[in-house]
């Protein structure tokens, strides 16, 4: 059972978001889906590599959340991405505020060309979900 999303319409772009924080990852992914993107959620570098290496998924952008705990792995991942998938645009952010801002910027250049709501509202939503 696989979904053949490589047979996509021209205006559908794929974003992979790599974040081991399920709540933040889910919220940012939901935001980007409202922008019209297909979003793949990866909780680990291994999962991200699996999807990037698969011929089924033509991934355009990777948004990579880093933290003090994960930063060494993430920088290793970014080197791997540049070496193996140099055409993929990599965006890295160390805080949820920066991740949300990146998502909003990507949203404005996406299929719908407008944000579903302000990125500050996305940050507020994530904080409410964590409370």
């Amino acid at each position: 059972m696989t979904v053949e999303i490589n047979q996509r319409s021209d205006d559908t772009r794929i974003i992979l978001i790599l974040d081991d924080d399920a709540i933040a990852r889910s919220a940012v992914a939901a935001y980007l889906r409202e922008c019209g993107y297909t979003v793949i959620e990866a909780a680990s570098e291994n999962d991200a590599r699996t999807m990037l290496d698969s011929p089924k998924y033509d991934i355009d952008i990777v948004i990579c959340a880093t933290s003090d705990v994960s930063s060494e792995d993430r920088f290793g991942f970014s080197r791997w991405l540049r070496e193996h998938h140099s055409h993929v645009r990599l965006l890295m952010a160390a805080t949820i505020e920066k991740t949300a801002k990146l998502a909003a910027d990507v949203c404005e250049e996406g299929p719908h060309l407008r944000k579903p709501y302000d990125h500050q509202n996305l940050v507020a939503w994530i904080k409410r979900l964590r409370a």
């Binding site: 059972m1 979904v3 399920a22 709540i23 939901a30 959620e41 698969s54 089924k56 979900l129």
Partner: protein
């Protein structure tokens, strides 16, 4: 092939897909999104519990061998006792239909058709 959207109102129904295998999780989640559901994804039972504590769900579809502190069956048991309104579905490569026959949890053996899971969720949530 993706299931066809059946109704716009499904977007208000929230489904959580829990599976440690990213391709299987993403594929099922996309089937459900294409049908019109709002879908969240969890890699492990721990992530699932974090999301269940943060937002309301109508259904949880979990792999039996999901990573984390509990397997899919234990997660489904916990959900049924804590959130009895949530539809639970277990998927697994091994046949667990006997273990689940006395419960309210539905079961699909892998490899399954995503459209069949979508049909069951629609049947249970939209036209019970």
């Amino acid at each position: 092939m993706l299931a066809q959207p059946v109704t716009d109102s499904l977007g208000t129904r929230c489904i959580l897909v829990v599976d440690g295998e990213i391709e299987i999780r993403f594929s099922l989640a996309q089937h459900l999104r294409s049908a019109g559901f709002t879908v969240f994804e969890a890699y492990s039972s721990d992530e699932a519990l974090a999301l269940l504590g943060a937002m309301p769900f109508d259904a949880v579809i979990a792999d039996f061998q999901t990573p984390g502190a509990m397997n899919g069956l234990a997660l489904a048991d916990l959900i049924r006792s804590t959130y009895p309104h949530i539809l639970t579905v277990i998927v697994s490569g091994v046949d667990l239909s006997h273990e689940l026959e006395r419960t309210e949890t539905a079961f699909f053996q892998k490899p399954y058709e995503g459209a069949a899971v979508v049909d069951l969720v629609i049947k249970k949530l939209v036209a019970p």
